[in-house]
Amino acid sequence: MRNLLLQGLLQSALTETPPAADDAALAELAKSVDRAARRRLGRSLSIREVDAGSCNGCELEIHALGNAFYDLERFGLRFVASPRHADVLMVTGPVTKNMRQALERTYAATPDPKWVVAVGDCAFDGGLFAGSYAVAGGVSAIVPVDLHIRGCPPNPTALLKGLLALLEKTA
């Protein structure tokens, strides 16, 4: 273990330079983020991830945000265990009818001010699963969405660009 820790100190960091905030995301967010909220939150946002029906592909890439290359926490962004602690709900998947109530309750449990980020093509409009008897639709069919990050799944860089846009607008 000592060797590994020592190497960690001696090697240069793997962490990459952050990408620029996504322009489209900035435009979408301009509508929903006001100045008062920005003052209140400073440069820090707590994110609660909710899988509302995804295939788990989006979860894999959201997980990757925490690895040494993307290191999400350096931006003041972190994932929290409860919606009660969250400023942002990050929702994946077409919202299944079996998850609809759980998503509504999670949204209700998140204190204001709050933002909803819908991640992935399914979260946008149901994606491939739209039209199924078991699917309620995209996330915006259930709760108001402030930002969509598209992709199947969006890669970590795309996720970072979207989240940095959110940070720019809120902080």
């Binding site: 040494a68 998850m99 078991a134 799944p153 890669n155």
Partner: protein, 505 residues
Amino acid sequence: MTFVAALEDKGRHVAGHRPWPRIVVDTDTWRQAVLGIAAGQATLLGLWSDGEAVHLCLSGETSGKLLVISLPCPDKRFPSVAQTHPPALRLERTIRDLYGIEPEGCPDARRWLDHGRWGLRHPLGAAEAAEPAGDTYAFHTAEGPPLHQIPVGPVHAGIIEPGHFRFHANGETVVRLEERLGYVHKGIDHLMAGAPRDRAAKLAGRTSGDSTVAYALGFAQAVEAALDLAPSARAVWLRALMAELERLANHFGDIGAICNDASFSLMHAHCSILREHVLRVSETCFGHRLMMDRIVPGGVATDLSKDGIAAIRTLIRTARRRFPRLVELYDNTASLQNRTVTTGILKPDLARQYGAGGVIGRASGRSWDARKLPGYAPYTSMVFDIPRRDQGDVDARVWIRIEEVRQSLTLIDQILDRTPEGSILTEAGAASRGKGEGLALVEGFRGDILVWVRLNANGTIARCHLRDPSWLQWPLLEAAIEGNIVADFPICNKSFNCSYSGHDL
């Protein structure tokens, strides 16, 4: 004559079902088959319906020969399998939910995937409107003065999929765990019916995103069997390459995540780096980090370039240099071993009864791997070992993953050396006309995925059933956690790493 071979003579063979036979049987033969499975003469691989009949896939434990037996259900009922063989329970509750076909004598009357929120009952059978108010669910109980219940989910604390766990605990000790799943049911069977093949392939690849390559491979093999189409020789090898990259990425991720659940984040950090390397190389080679939609019936959609080969060689070298240090770290950290050794033991008897595949089965005494048995190209011509352990604890499941990483690295070496040149796609062309049925069993990182497909005359999908390995693994988690402390549930759960989406369909 083996049990499965003898059974094969007792029914009417269905023409055009490949590569293994499907026979239509009467109720007596159905019961005989179930008794044989319950007695351990064969393993249950799947149980599903197409609305007209119920189909049961079984295999001999040593022969690797698969057989599908079908029982027509004109009056919407069939003799329960779970009554005699409990592993079938959730599968047949699902048949009842989706098709309204009643498993007579089924020991559990509760709905499974149907939570009473779809606005209709039996969506794939004679659908009838129903108020989407949500059903109450009567969890099994454990009673006594010191016991208390802990409800967990469907929304969990981590970045994971949704499901509900109901614990009955005596202080810290779990007395009973019951799972309630189905939250991410998307209606994949329904969306498959009538879908064109390209759309169906995408759906199959999104049944469980972490196994997208394995699902796409299983789907492609099943469709090729139905069409009696041979995929391009080069593609067969490239598919195996993708499958092994997927296995590597997931095993690296899981080994790290299991250690993370024991609060040993150093392993997690290093394993995540290796995982990220694999995903980046996958993108370089095939244009997508998870390699979604790269395997299609007939071959593959993306060829491997010279740059790609170089990138993979570098990846293999890096992994061979770094991974052994991490293995050593795992092996020599007593505080970590303290959490994994003797935790969450799955007994070999149960693993065998449930036909548990993948890491879970191989950590509990089963040497079963679909790449070897029944086996499929190109694995049949490659040299690799199937690791096995008998302890059945979290530690054994970590070590199986470690061994499988080593095997995958060896396999990738062989694939790079032996992949032939040539086209990457065999067009279905004229072969795409004509009905057919295909079956495939492929080994994903989680275990064996069963895919059954029936094609329409115009080449579209009539029915497709995808059975995730998790169907037969989730129930075993309930058994493995018994007597462990509540705080060890996350590490046990992660060591199983069953799919919610793959199970919920």
